[in-house]
């Protein structure tokens, strides 16, 4: 059964994720969709655009696997000290499992430092909006916390199935209604964020459908991460970019540099525009129409993507079998060439995509190109456009465009899969295995199985997360946060020196 823990549960290559939703997940529920029976006023104050905003990572909510109650006595489970009894019947959505997760595994301290940009509490954290999704699906916006500890307390009290992070506001979000002027409550800063989700690839993905993923289609996400990460660094000069697995079939990026956090909506829109390549919806026909020679960002992206195109697209996705070759023909420029290809492919429709791709050049050089109109240059450019259409990152751009858009926090549990939304190390992005990411139940079982005692050699207490396979991810996050804090500190120092009071000179 899905989500159960068995000792042998190890994933093999190209094994389709066993966690599939019951329903057609082409269909998507709304981000921020409050439950009709939301208990607090906060939870219904959502604007219409948000309501209609499909966030693919949320859809899994509706289709989450049946909740299987633990057969253990709940009163016993809720005692923090007692070892949690994780059985094959436990599921991640069990409130006791979630409580244990927040109590023993969630890296609150690191999360606090990450958002606070300093060791002692500042408004960067205190005025930051959190939005909780409670076990009954109620959605609470405008939560905020003075310290990491208060934050942890509310998580333990309410056991949110997940929470999202919004912007830092000009005032404490909890006080927004008592402010005299509405305009004195406005979003000031937030990380620049990106959301890549497999749904946007559904028209070219052949290996899986809906919420399922496998290693073949994860390649789309890997390619997207590579292209975006290098552009954010080399083009925009950002340094502190955190990539996070969204828990099922996508990834988020958090650009945490101060310069990125301070971008207004129009600048965010322009970055989204810079990265946007595919235009037009399903009716749009040819969707890549770029200027050649390519802009340096696209040229560099193409160099990276070309390497993946042969294996990840031609061989693994095999996108142009049978009648699907029609789309490939539509993307080519020359009528004579198209006719020749059509003829060849009609006679052997099952010809693999890799051969069809090779046919294009073969026939063109063999003279099938009507040399009046189309030269080799046009054909090359068309081929480049095709590579880009099948490999270039497809972003959910709306997420990036708004300063006040909320995004699911790192390290929360994906309600549909039970997996932790762990950071992805871009230095080893090709090795990242979404199907091997630990689930909450697996981690709790690992704590129980820990035989190493509770104290380190240096006398320090061993945290529960250190006893589990979550450790490398938390360690990675800690290093990331430390790097951010270091830059933040020197930045503040510099500002102080530059803007220093001239009177001090006397």
């Amino acid at each position: 059964m899905p989500h159960s823990i068995s000792p042998e549960s190890s994933h093999t290559m190209s094994q389709v994720d066993t966690i599939k939703s019951e329903e057609q997940t082409q269909d998507i529920s709304m981000a921020d969709a409050p439950s009709p029976a939301a208990p607090e006023a906060d939870s219904v104050k959502v604007n219409l655009e948000d309501l209609f905003d499909d966030d693919d990572s949320d859809q899994e909510f509706a289709s989450s696997a049946p909740q299987v109650k633990s057969e253990e006595d709940p009163s016993q489970l809720s005692q923090p000290a007692a070892p949690l009894n994780v059985t094959s019947k436990s599921t991640y959505s069990d409130p006791d499992i979630m409580r244990a997760f927040y109590q023993r595994l969630f890296p609150f301290r690191h999360l606090f430092q990450w958002l606070n940009h300093s060791a002692t509490p500042t408004n960067d954290f205190a005025h930051r909006e959190f939005a909780f999704t409670l076990p009954n699906d109620a959605y609470l916006r405008y939560q905020s916390f003075a310290t990491a500890d208060l934050f942890r307390k509310q998580c333990l009290a309410q056991i949110p199935s997940r929470f999202e992070i919004g912007p830092v506001y000009s005032a404490n979000p909890r006080d927004r209604k008592t402010l005299r002027q509405a305009s004195s409550f406005r979003p000031l800063t937030k990380e620049l964020v990106f959301d890549i989700d497999m749904t946007d690839y559904d028209d070219i993905r052949t290996c899986c459908t809906g919420a399922s993923i496998c290693h073949k289609c994860w390649a789309f996400i890997t390619m997207a991460i590579k292209v975006l990460d290098v552009a954010l660094r080399d083009d925009f000069g950002f340094k502190h970019i955190l990539w996070v697995y969204s828990g099922r079939r996508g990834a988020h990026a958090w650009v945490c540099d101060k310069r990125a956090r301070e971008l207004d909506d129009s600048r965010r829109r322009s970055i989204a525009g810079y990265f946007e390549l595919l235009k037009g919806g399903d009716q749009g026909g040819k969707r890549v129409n770029v200027r050649h020679p390519l802009h340096p960002h696209l040229e560099r992206s193409l160099d990276t993507l070309k390497e993946h195109f042969h294996t990840s697209i031609l061989l693994e996705q095999d996108p142009w079998v049978e009648e699907k070759a029609e789309h490939l023909l539509n993307l080519l420029p020359d009528a004579t060439l198209k006719a020749a290809l059509q003829k060849k492919w009609d006679s052997s429709p099952s010809r693999p995509s890799v051969s069809k791709w090779a046919d294009i050049n073969a026939l063109a050089t063999a003279g099938a190109l009507s040399n009046t109109k189309t030269g080799p240059r046009e054909l090359l450019e068309a081929r480049e456009d095709i590579v880009l259409e099948y490999t270039y990152p497809r972003l959910d751009a709306e997420v990036s465009k708004k300063l006040n858009h909320l995004l699911k926090s790192p390290f929360v549990i994906h309600p549909g899969t039970g997996r932790v939304c762990v950071p992805i190390d871009t230095r080893k992005v090709e090795d990242f295995d979404p199907l091997g990411v630990p689930t909450v139940t697996q981690l709790l079982a690992e704590i129980n199985e820990w035989k190493g005692g509770d104290v380190k050699e240096d006398g320090k207490k061993i945290h529960d997360w250190e006893k589990t396979s979550l450790k490398p991810y938390v360690d990675f996050f800690a290093v990331f946060v430390a790097g951010l804090l270091k830059d933040e500190k020197t930045g503040v120092k510099r500002e102080r020196e530059e803007g220093g009071d001239p009177m001090e000179l006397f």
Partner: protein, 505 residues
């Protein structure tokens, strides 16, 4: 000379006009001289003007801005806009260069300066107005910048202190290939290049028209326009924010407040094309969810497209749902019927999922739930063509928007033919319209063709005035007019049950 309406705005009140009291204190009663034609409007006006001038100048400028907005709505190209605006500017807000040797250069510049600041006051109250004002003022500035005398423009730009770092020859050589590719020019083109923080040229970044390296944008001389314009917008946006915060104090002035209120109202009107009268159609009885299929023949292409997609997939993605729900609300479908409509349309969905995730949004669109302001406003207004045309293009799997804009020509032609438009010449003209991005012109053309017999009839018998047949700029107007024309003389014949369904088959 009688100057009975001369109202001296006393210094205390004038100070309220701008937040920066210091500047006023220094420059009280001072007449400014305007050396240059172009103006960043960094310095507020200081001299006195009459109330009459106050109002007339503002209305003149408002006229110019409204026409500019109409141009962008009609998708006029920059050149077409410039041509169209020439007369309007000459009439309402002339602003000539020094070389024109005009008599009233100082007067023109003063009027330009003052009218800008008056409208700033009138349009700083809400975020929406501020954004619109900033967009249109930027368009006006761009227009004038492009038409300025080259030499005078250069002199003016040199006074701006824009802090551009020039790219040295060594670096230029090193990255010449990238510069050429990003700027879409030949490598041989020797150009001056400037380095600026990329945030200063968002437009160029958005369109990938500059090379970016470690946070710096490499801007060629020829893109100077973008830089200067971006800076104009930036300064204006900041100033508008400040004005908005200083605004409450102005309410006390009993003479200016009504004028300003009136100005901002007349600025708000054009876009609110939907009126509730569009929902009450003589002869059309209460619409039920079951009637939508037959009524769809009277829908504009954008809504027919959504309707077909919904029927084909038993589903629509979010923006499509929003656009369609609001339209249905606009034709008079009640909330209850709308819920039934969507419930039945999502055939593959469980009831539980529908109730949990979709119903609330429909209610929200109708203003049945949500915050106070949403309820008070009865939800969102049905989208106008302008709104639909300026929304982001549909992404994969999405189908909202205006088909004239989002479909490829082939798909558009197929769709039009499916709705019964087969006239070759017409289809050709529509292709031209679409190529020139005159989407709403194409849509109106299709309307006129599809209703040509009926239009002739109402024109001939004089039952409709030309006002009743002006350009359609709202999908709900399209529906209303189409339905009425197709049911001429039926009076209160009631719903077109059955009849419409047969047509559909």
């Amino acid at each position: 000379m009688i100057r009975h309406d001369y109202s001296r705005v006393d210094p205390k009140r004038r100070a309220n006009i701008h937040h920066n009291k210091k500047q006023f204190a220094k420059a009280e009663f001072q007449q400014q001289t305007y050396e240059h034609r172009l103006n960043y409007y960094d310095v507020p006006p200081t001299a006195e003007i009459t109330l009459e001038e106050f109002e007339t100048w503002a209305i003149n400028r408002l006229k110019v801005l409204s026409e500019l907005e109409a141009c962008s709505f009609r998708n006029r190209s920059q050149d077409e806009t410039a041509e169209y605006m020439t007369n309007i500017l000459a009439k309402h807000l002339p602003l000539r260069s020094n070389s024109s040797r005009g008599q009233n250069l100082q007067e023109e510049r003063k009027k330009d300066h003052y009218s800008h600041f008056i409208l700033r006051l009138a349009f700083s109250s809400t975020e929406d107005l501020r954004r619109r004002f900033s967009r249109l003022e930027t368009a006006l500035f761009r227009l004038r910048f492009k038409s300025d005398d080259l030499k005078e423009r250069k002199e003016w730009v040199s006074t701006l202190n824009l802090e551009w770092e020039e790219v040295g020859d060594a670096e230029k050589a090193e990255i010449s290939k990238q510069l050429a590719a990003a700027g879409n020019m030949k490598k041989e083109d020797d150009q001056e290049w400037f380095k600026v923080d990329w945030e200063r040229v968002p437009e160029l970044v958005d369109q990938r028209r500059v090379f970016l390296k470690r946070g710096k944008a490499y801007v060629p001389q020829k893109e100077q326009l973008s830089l200067v314009v971006a800076e104009f917008t930036k300064r204006l946006d900041e100033a508008l924010e400040l004005t908005a915060r200083a605004l409450p104090r102005l309410d006390e002035d009993d003479r200016l407040a009504p004028i300003l209120a009136h100005l901002s109202q007349s600025f708000t009107a054009p876009d609110a094309a939907y009126t509730s009268s569009d929902a009450s159609i003589d002869g059309l009885s209460t619409i039920t969810s079951g009637a939508i299929d037959s009524l769809a023949t009277n829908f504009p292409l954008c809504m027919q497209s959504l309707h077909n997609k919904l029927r084909a997939d038993s589903h629509l993605k979010h923006y499509g749902r929003l656009q369609y729900t609001l339209f249905l609300k606009g034709i008079g479908l009640s909330l209850e019927e709308c819920i039934i409509f969507w419930r039945r349309s999502f055939k593959l969905m469980t009831d539980d999922k529908f109730q949990k995730e979709y119903k609330y949004n429909i209610r929200h669109a109708y203003g049945d739930v949500g915050g106070d302001s949403n309820r008070r406003g009865r939800g969102y207004s049905p989208y106008s063509c302008q709104k639909i045309l300026t929304e982001p293009l549909p992404g994969p799997g999405q189908s909202h928007g205006c088909p004239y804009r989002t479909f490829t020509q082939d798909n558009l032609m197929t769709m039009l033919q499916r709705t019964g438009i087969n006239d070759r010449d017409l289809l050709k003209t529509i292709k031209e319209d679409v190529t020139k991005q005159r989407y709403h012109v194409a849509c109106n053309r299709v309307f006129e063709h599809a209703h040509r017999k009926e239009i002739k009839k109402v024109k001939d018998d004089g039952s409709w005035t030309s006002n009743d047949l002006d350009t359609i700029v709202h999908p709900n107007t399209y529906f209303k007019r189409s339905w009425l024309l197709k049911h001429l003389g039926e009076g209160n014949a009631g719903m077109v049950n059955g009849k419409g369904e047969q047509m559909e088959m």
